[in-house]
């Protein structure tokens, strides 16, 4: 790196493709390719190769319990998955958990971001405390909440005066799982929103205040519209992450009590039942669903405007 001292002029954006490239610019390109190549190769090799492998496996009857019965069966695995009630139930579970937990995270995250933005004293303390859930290992967070909700060990049933085990039925388990997800992820949501809040000019707020706008009006008419890109990016990130929910459910009950998510189904099919063909079909379908969500956010809602990279210079 030390040898690269190209003067700023060659980096000016004025150079167009048509112009004859100077030797220096060509050398710069060559260097850039070599610098970027390792990252590009690693990312493509470790994601593209397996996903292609998953597509191939998903077209085969591949069951590790019967390794000699492997053969090409076309789209039959997809037919099996898509006609199985369990797939649609798991999609439903995943959507419920995603929508509810991300909505709550957005509201609480916004509140937390506003507190961190506006607070007049103790900002460092609030930020440090708010970062605690972010810093906790996901599995530990899930264990803590699971042990807190469980009738055997926990303090929550006692506090709420429950006689039965909240984790022995579906509703209680969903509440506990969503609380865990919200607790763990709200700080990150708040940090993303805080960065968006910083972009809202104070003068605009002051001007509206002078014009007699109430706090709520200023929030809905100025802050929210100006923060739309930041909100969309934050919600996109959190939605994609929530949709892949695995750790929390695994720790709580591995998908019992009607809480099996798509990732959990994927894991169970692959590693419990060792059915690589069916499991890979689930993997590919999950991959497509996640891609669809990302495309929806970027194309339809326009999150792309502020998505990482797109405005990179």
């Amino acid at each position: 790196m030390s040898t690269v001292t190209a003067p700023p002029t060659t980096r000016a954006r004025g150079i167009t493709r048509k112009q004859h490239l100077s030797d220096r610019a060509r050398a710069e390109r060559r260097l850039a390719f070599w610098l970027v190549a390792p990252a590009a190769v690693v990312m493509l090799a470790v994601t593209a190769y397996p996903i292609i492998d998953a597509v191939i496996l998903s077209l085969q009857r591949a069951d590790l319990r019967f390794p000699n019965a492997t053969k090409f069966i076309g789209l039959a695995n997809y037919g099996h998955v898509l006609s199985a009630p369990v797939w649609w139930q798991d999609v439903f579970h995943t959507v419920i958990i995603t929508v509810i937990s991300v909505s709550i995270q957005l509201v609480l995250g916004m509140a937390l971001a506003l507190v961190m933005h506006r607070i007049i004293f103790g900002r460092g303390i609030v930020r440090a405390i708010a970062l605690v859930p972010y810093g906790i290992v996901a599995v530990v967070a899930a264990e803590s909440w699971q042990l807190a909700w469980s009738l055997q060990s926990g303090w929550i049933p006692k506090l709420l005066g429950l006689s039965g085990d909240p984790l022995s039925h579906t509703f209680g388990t969903y509440v506990a799982i969503i609380v865990t997800e919200v607790w763990k992820n709200t700080p990150f949501m708040a940090l993303l929103l805080l960065a968006g809040l910083a972009l809202v000019p104070d003068e605009l707020q002051e001007a509206a205040k002078v014009d007699g706008a109430t706090t709520w009006e200023r929030f809905t008419k100025i802050t929210l519209p100006l923060m739309k890109p930041a909100i969309l990016v934050a919600v996109l990130f959190r939605t994609l992450d929530a949709f892949r929910i695995f750790d929390t459910i695994y720790i709580f009950n591995q998908g019992a009590q009607g809480t099996e998510s798509i990732s959990m189904l994927n894991y169970n099919t692959l590693l419990d039942r060792l059915n690589l063909g069916l499991g890979s079909a689930v993997s590919v379908l999950l991959f497509l669903l996640v891609a669809l969500i990302a495309i929806f956010f970027i194309k339809v809602l326009g999150a792309g405007g502020a998505a990482p990279g797109t405005e990179a210079t």
Binding site: P7, S283, P308
Partner: protein, 276 residues
């Protein structure tokens, strides 16, 4: 009550609410780890009988100490590799003009959004065939890969802020290129690299999906995977105290890093996510 005083009270209340919400689950797991086995299931928030025996328990069995060794080793190696590879890419992205810059950023974004569980089947299959199943490299490879996108974003955001002209200025003043790099650029780039290192280490330290799928024994099992499968004294007794103690031990180092470097982590995370 004056306006000022009311405001102070309001903010104090807000701080209190935030503190209770984020700290109660942490206090709970700490308290649970300090309960004696006999009182672990009494359901009280604060222990009636205090003990450190859960900690001596987990450190006297190989399961936890092996997992801790694996977590630290795998986490550090993955982080060093990811930050190294990402630094060179981020330098090119921040400083050089080349076609395909957007492509590499899009690939990184795609990898960042990738559902990791989708890779578990193919990797499990492949690792078993080539002998990487239940080994350190078997986890280091996916960890490094999934840490790359965020590392590239965070580092290129940091690198863009560096006044690179200083390097030339130093050379004009008679420094050799290497001196200029080491004395001027390295100190300027260090904060960004340290921040990225911490963020990436937390990602690797946290992982559960790959750890539970691609390992099976103490040869490579990391702490999150080990905690989820702690054996009880019998099949029907859950070792609450041991789980809680192990949870506290893995949380402490990360928590210290987060609290010490909180300002930098916040700016790194938000720069990587929002500004790109």
């Amino acid at each position: 009550m004056t306006h000022k005083r009311r405001e102070t009270t309001g903010w104090s209340a807000a701080i209190l609410v935030v503190a209770i919400c984020s700290l109660v689950p942490v206090l709970w797991i700490i308290f649970l780890s300090l309960k004696t086995p006999a009182t672990a299931t009494d359901g009280s928030f604060i222990p009636h009988q205090w003990t450190l025996s859960n900690y001596s328990d987990i450190f006297s069995t190989g399961i936890f100490t092996d997992a801790l060794r694996n977590s630290i080793g795998i986490g550090l190696i993955s982080t060093v590799l990811a930050v190294g590879i990402a630094s060179s890419a981020a330098y090119a992205i921040a400083r050089l003009d080349f076609p395909g810059k957007q492509v590499i950023l899009l690939v990184a974004l795609g990898v960042a959004m990738f559902p990791q569980i989708s890779l578990v089947g193919p990797l499990y299959n492949l690792w078993r065939q080539i002998g990487l199943y239940d080994t350190w490299p078997g986890l280091i490879i996916p960890y490094m890969t999934f840490a790359l996108p965020l590392s590239i974003y965070v580092l290129s955001a940091f690198f863009r802020e560096i006044p690179w002209e200083l390097e030339e200025a130093a050379q004009v003043d008679g420094a050799t290129p290497f001196q200029a790099f080491r004395k001027v650029i390295v100190p300027l780039a260090t904060p960004g690299i340290v921040t990225t290192f911490i963020i990436v280490f937390i990602i690797c330290w946290n992982d559960f999906v790959f750890a539970i799928s691609l390992t099976s024994t103490s040869a490579a099992q990391t702490v999150p995977a080990a905690i989820s499968s702690f054996p009880g004294v019998s099949q029907f007794s859950v070792p609450y105290g041991d789980i809680a103690a192990a949870a506290v031990v893995v949380t402490v180092p990360v928590m210290l890093l987060v609290l010490i470097f909180q300002r930098r982590i916040v700016s790194g995370l938000t720069a990587g996510a929002v500004k790109g």
